[in-house]
Amino acid sequence: MGRYVIRRLLQMIPVFIGATFLIFVMVYALGDPVSALFGDRGPDPATAKALREEFNLDHPLWQQYLLYMGKIFSGDFGTAFNGQPVTELMERAFPISFRLALVALTFEIVLGIVLGVVTGLRRGRSLDTTVLILTLVVIAVPTFVLGTTGQFFLGVEAGWIDPAVSPDARLDELIVPGLILALVSLAYVTRLTRTSVAENTRADYIRTAIAKGLPRRRVTVRHLLRNSLIPVVTYLGADIGTLMAGAIVTERIFNIQGVGYQLYQGILRQNSPTVVGFVVVLVLIFLLANLLVDLLYAVLDPRIRYA
């Protein structure tokens, strides 16, 4: 087990290098970012050149990459175009996005699994249908509409929340944004759990457990749920990344300057230090989350072993 974890951690190195290079090439492919800095006015060549030098954009791609990687290992992730060090942006954005993702994940786990189990046990009943309809709404109505509508009613009409989250982004402020962010994933989690539960209710070991006269609750939680969770856990593990990086719309609505926002800005302004820096950290988070998921497999299904 310990060796397995170490091996997995070592695998992060090639992935890290591969991902940074890939992203670096992609941002580079977007083209020259400098002329946009001049607004609607044509760039004057000399100033543009000075700016390119400042951001190392005057070297060929491979040199830029090596320069960048060299700096990363000394902890320097470069500078955004507005003069802020990327590390400073990351220090601010990641904790906020992490909290937001945590809130969303909690909703997914609690609400998604409960709804999934209940609908899976009572397929075709009215609650099942209601959840199905809500699922359709969540899929067909854009997050933006659900988010702004929720914000308007809760923030302006009812006055229960502040429409904008403060720069500290405390946990209690993130409850509504977290729910909005979780909505689509909630649909996945609910339906995955539902299917898994429905499938396993007919498994032999459940029949055996019931025949043994075990209490219903115990059968559901210890036997049914545990065996139904593998696809759900896989999904949740993969979703952590999406929740952190893909919260662009939710972050915009609630004025949260998280990872999604910074990444999006970085891409639109073609600022490779920002984009590469953020993606690198994200990839590391994916890797850790996946490792965790793989380890959880062994907990949920004792037949799975890692050497």
């Binding site: 492919a29 933006f144 509409v145 339906r191 007919r202 593998i230 896989t234």
Partner: protein, 316 residues
């Protein structure tokens, strides 16, 4: 490890043939043989399932509309009169007009083609690619699992917006296919993870171990024993993804890299209605394309449910 010998037994050969018949896309596997395969059983079940029939009819209807929108809409979706901007429903214009003064009904009907093509093809692409990569990684394990899984991680790291802008602005092709390609290329890791997890679990089942002990070939175990038991989560994911892909297409269009006018799609109309919060004053412009999208997703969710049930031998 690959044991071709076992195929020599008559029984094994039959089964593999039946399974191959299905993977090639024909649902009507030979029924002449006495032992019907799981897949033919499933098809037999499906034909009697009312949920399947309803969803199939609904999908058929959507496909027909996609192919020949002129059947139920006689106007030109591009003919817009700004003067009628945001007018509500009226006789002859049942769904009202959008911001640009285009007829919402006509646009909803014409939007079906692009939306369903993008949704269906991207989902198929993602499901196939994801299931193959994830399934193989989970089934083979060891070095290949490591390689495929880490490759998945790298792909997972690419932000969708970045990937889409880079690929779509470099490809000079326009139209639906580049959009389908980009969505599929950037979304498969999710399915790959799920199917890898499912295959790893299914692999542990007693009957798989038994089949292996009996000397079943790899492909036979995969197709006959593991796949049917691992496919449910993929189906569930795919049916929901279908809907999110239709919406994703709109996001790409709004970034300026998706479908281009004169292509009409639900996604574009939905995001046009949400952009600028137009829906606050004229809800109809959001409602109809969103309802059409919901109906499509509903049809596929029902279909997915029916197929999953049919594949579950425990239900018989």
């Amino acid at each position: 490890m690959p044991d071709q010998q076992s195929d020599k037994t008559p029984f094994g050969a039959q089964e593999v043939a039946a399974a191959k018949g299905l993977t090639a896309g024909t649902a009507t596997a030979p029924e002449t043989t006495a032992a019907r395969s799981l897949w033919t059983d499933a098809w037999h079940d499906l034909r009697r399932n009312p949920v399947f029939i309803v969803s199939a009819l609904l999908i058929l209807f959507l496909v027909v509309i996609s192919l020949w929108p002129g059947l139920i809409a006689s106007r030109d979706p591009q003919r817009c009169q700004l003067g009628r901007s945001l007018e509500g429903p009226s006789a002859g214009h049942w769904f009202g007009f959008d911001t640009q003064g285009c007829d919402v009904y006509t646009r909803t009907v014409y939007g079906a083609r692009a939306s369903i093509t993008v949704g269906l093809c991207a989902t198929l692409g993602v499901a196939v690619l994801g299931a193959v990569v994830g399934g193989l990684a989970g089934f083979i394990g060891g070095f290949w699992d490591t390689l495929l899984s880490r490759l998945t991680d790298v792909f997972f790291g690419i932000p969708l917006v970045l990937g889409a802008i880079v690929f779509l602005s470099m490809i000079t092709l326009t139209g639906i296919w580049p959009v389908v390609l980009v969505i599929a290329a950037l979304s498969w890791p999710q399915i790959a993870r799920i199917s890898r997890g499912s295959v790893i679990t299914a692999k542990q089942n007693d009957y798989v171990q038994a089949a292996r002990a009996l000397g079943a070939s790899n492909s036979r175990m995969l197709l006959r024993h593991i796949l049917p038991n691992a496919v449910a989560p993929v189906i569930v994911m795919a049916t929901i993804m279908l809907g999110t892909f239709i919406a994703l297409e709109a996001t790409l269009s709004y970034l300026g890299v998706g479908l281009r006018p004169p292509t009409v799609s639900w996604g574009v109309d939905i995001s046009a209605a949400s952009d600028g919060m137009q829906f606050r004053n004229a809800p109809h412009i959001l409602l109809y394309p969103a309802a059409a999208l919901s109906l499509t997703v509903l049809a596929f969710i029902m279909l997915g449910d029916a197929v999953r049930d049919a594949l579950d031998p425990k239900l018989r």
